[in-house]
Symmetry: C2
Subunit: 379 residues, 2 copies
C-alpha cells in the first residue's frame, strides 16, 4: 500500500491497511447474525466516539451531505425557522438544504477566516425563535473552528428550546466534541475524515431531545430515503442484534467502520483529540516558519484537523500543488469561491495525525518547504 501518493487533503484521508482490508471483506448477508453483530457493535462504539451515553447513532449509505437532509427532512417542518452559523462554504450549502425542504434558514455570516461571535449569536436568538441552530464545527473551506461548547451555552441560556446541531463532518473523531457534556442535540459526520473509513457513510448522533422533537412533528418526514421513521427502528434492531430490513446497508463499509472504531476506542478520546492538536500545531508551526498566512484570522479560530494556508505573494496553485504531487504528496486547492485560487488546504486527521511512525507530517512539511523554495527561486 506504499506506492500511492500521500493523501493529505481534508478528506478522504489516509486509511490503515487494517481498515482497507476490512473493506474487502467477502460478501455477507446483511440480515445474518455475523454482520448484525458487527453493525450493532459499531453503533455502540460510535457512542464512545461522540462521547455520549445515550445518543442514538445512525449509519446510512451516503455522504456527509446526506446528514443535512436527515436533519432538514426529519427535525424541521415546512415553515420552520433555523439559524445557520456561517464560517464558510458549508454554511451556505446547509442553508440551501434547509430551504429545499421549505424551511427558512437565516445565516449569521462571518467574514472569511472569522466566526460569528457569541454576542452576535445571542442577539440573533433574541430577535427570533429558531427551531435549531446549526454550527459547522470545522468548515473545510476555510479551516475555521467553531467554539461549539461556548455557542451551545449561549443557546441553552438564551433560547433553551432551540436544538443545537453540529456539522461535524471535518471534526468528529478528531476535534474535541463532547456530545452530552456540551448539550449537543445532533451531530452529523461522514466516514472519510477523522473516523478513517473510506467515503460512503453518513454517520450521525441524535440526542433524546432531538428524537422527541422528531416524534412530535405534525407532518410526515419529507424524505423517504432519509426518513428517521424508517431508520430509527433499523438502528435499534441492529443494536439489539435483530435482523430488520429497510434498505441494504453498505456491508463492506460497515466492516471497515468497525475495524476503525475498534482501533479508535482502544484509547481514551481525550488522547486522540490531543494527538490531533499536536499534529496541527506541528503543521501550523511549519507554515508560520515559512512565513505563510493562514485563512483563519486568529489561532483560536483554527481547526486541528486541517490547515488552510494562503499562497505566498506571487505564487499560484499551479506553482505549488503539481510540484508537491510530483513528490508524492497531495494537498487540496481552495474551495471557498471568493479566495479559491489564493490558498491551499492540508488535512491532518486519523492515522496521519495519530501514527507518528508513518512520518506523514514530516514528509509533507519537508515537501512543502522544498517546493516553495524551488518556486520562489524561479520567480
Amino acid at each position: 500500500m506504499s506506492d500511492h501518493s500521500l493523501l493529505m487533503i481534508p478528506g478522504p484521508i489516509e486509511f490503515s491497511d487494517e481498515v482497507l482490508q476490512a473493506n474487502a471483506h467477502p460478501s455477507m448477508s446483511h440480515v445474518g447474525a455475523p454482520f448484525i453483530n458487527v453493525f450493532g457493535e459499531s453503533l455502540e462504539l460510535l457512542r464512545k466516539v461522540f462521547v455520549s451515553e445515550d445518543a442514538q447513532p445512525l449509519v446510512i449509505a451516503g455522504s456527509g451531505t446526506l446528514g443535512w437532509d436527515i436533519v432538514a427532512a426529519n427535525i424541521t417542518e415546512r415553515g420552520d425557522n433555523v439559524l445557520v452559523l456561517h464560517t464558510g462554504y458549508f454554511g451556505d450549502s446547509f442553508a440551501e438544504c434547509f430551504e429545499t425542504y421549505g424551511v427558512t434558514a437565516t445565516q449569521l455570516k462571518a467574514a472569511i477566516g472569522e466566526r460569528p461571535t457569541s454576542d452576535q449569536v445571542e442577539a440573533a436568538l433574541k430577535e427570533r425563535k429558531y427551531k435549531l441552530v446549526s454550527i459547522t464545527h470545522v468548515d473545510t473551506s476555510t479551516g475555521v473552528l467553531s467554539d461549539v461548547k461556548l455557542i451551545s451555552e449561549v443557546v441553552r441560556r438564551v433560547s433553551p428550546d432551540t436544538l443545537i446541531v453540529v456539522d461535524g463532518v471535518c471534526s468528529v473523531g478528531g476535534e474535541e466534541l463532547l456530545f452530552d457534556e456540551w448539550g449537543v442535540d445532533i451531530a452529523i459526520t461522514a466516514s472519510q475524515k477523522a473516523i478513517g473509513v473510506p467515503p460512503g457513510l453518513s454517520i450521525s448522533a441524535f440526542s433524546k431531545r432531538a428524537i422527541s422533537t422528531f416524534n412530535s412533528r405534525t407532518t410526515p418526514p419529507s424524505s423517504y430515503f432519509a426518513s428517521l421513521k424508517k431508520w430509527l427502528p433499523i438502528m435499534q434492531a441492529y443494536e439489539s442484534r435483530k435482523p430488520m430490513y429497510f434498505a441494504t446497508p453498505p456491508v463492506q463499509l460497515i466492516y471497515a467502520l468497525h475495524a476503525s472504531l475498534k482501533k479508535i476506542t482502544e484509547r481514551p478520546m481525550s488522547e486522540r483529540f490531543q494527538l490531533h492538536k499536536d499534529a496541527s500545531n506541528k503543521v501550523k508551526s511549519a507554515v508560520r516558519e515559512l512565513g505563510l498566512k493562514q485563512v483563519p484570522t486568529q489561532d483560536q479560530f483554527a481547526a486541528n484537523t486541517m490547515t488552510a494556508v494562503y499562497l505566498p505573494e506571487g505564487l499560484t496553485l499551479p506553482d505549488v500543488l503539481p510540484k508537491l504531487s510530483q513528490k508524492g504528496i497531495i494537498f487540496a486547492g481552495g474551495l471557498h469561491r471568493e479566495i479559491a485560487t489564493k490558498y491551499f488546504r492540508i488535512g491532518h486527521m486519523g492515522i496521519t495525525a495519530t501514527d507518528s511512525g508513518r512520518n506523514d507530517l514530516d514528509k509533507a512539511i519537508q515537501g512543502l518547504k522544498e517546493v516553495l523554495s524551488e518556486a520562489t527561486q524561479k520567480h
Copy 2:
C-alpha cells in the same frame, strides 16, 4: 476468500476477488486525475450495461432505495399522478416513496406470484393521465419478472407522454434490459446485485426525455442530496474528465465498480443475459425435481436472477435455512409479508451465474437436496 459461506441470496451476491481488492484501493483524492478517469470511464461502461447510446448514468453513494427518491424528487412534482405496477413488496415501497413527495401513486396490483397484464395496464392508462409508469423488473420479494418490453410498447402506444421507469435493482446486469430499444426512460439499480459490487451505490440511467422532463419542472427538486440539479453537472464533469464537487463520492466503491464493469463489458451483454438464464434454468429444474412449487405462478413470470420457492408441506424455514447455513450455504428467507414464513429465496447473479468454475450452483443445489431429504426423514 474461500472460508466464508457461499452467499446465494438475491443480493448482496458473491463478489470476485478482483472487485474486493479494488474496494481496498488506497486512498485517492476525489478530485484528482487518476480517480476522475476511473469514475468517468465507469459512467461510459455503465451505458454499455444499460445497452444505451446516450442515456445519462448516475452513480451516487446510497442504496437501491435512494433511486426511488431520485425519481420521485426530480421527475415528479407535488400533485402529479403515477402508476405503479405492483408485483410484490417493492411496488408498495416505491409507491410510499412517491407519496412522501406529495405524488399520488396508483397501484395496479397483481396477486402474489402474478403480474399485471398488458390489458390491465392499457385500461389503467386510458382511465387517467400518468406522468410515469413504474415497473419492478424483478420483484425480489416474489421473484416475479415483469415484461418490460411489452409494457413499454403498451405505454408508448396508449399514453406516449408517460415516462417508463424501471426498478431494475434485481435485474440490471443480469436480466435482459435494452434501455434504448425498449424505450425505457429511467432505470434504477444498486451495486450489490447483478452488477457484482459491494452495496453502497445507487446506480441509474436517465433518457434524454427524462432529463428534459426534469428540466421543464416548475418547482425545484424536492430533495437536496438526491437533486439532479446537483448531480447531473457532477456526472457530466466526471465524464469529461474534469474535477467538480458536490458531495464526496465513495472512492473505493467506484474503483470496485470500475473493476466489475471492465470485466462485465469484456463480453457482449446478450451473452451475460443468456448465462443468467442458463443458471436460472439449472436452479429451477432442480427445484422442480425436488417437487417444490415456485412463487411465480407461470414459468414466463419467473426471474432469471433469483428463484423464490415455497417450502415443502410440513417444513418451516428453521427446518431448512439454518441447516443449509451449517453446510456453508446462505439462502434468504421470505420478504413478502403475506407469505414470509412459507418460502425462501435463492439468488443466482454475477459470478455465481457466469463463472461455472466456481460450482456455486451445483454446491447450492446439492446442499438443498441433502437438507430437504434429512428434514423430510425427520418429520
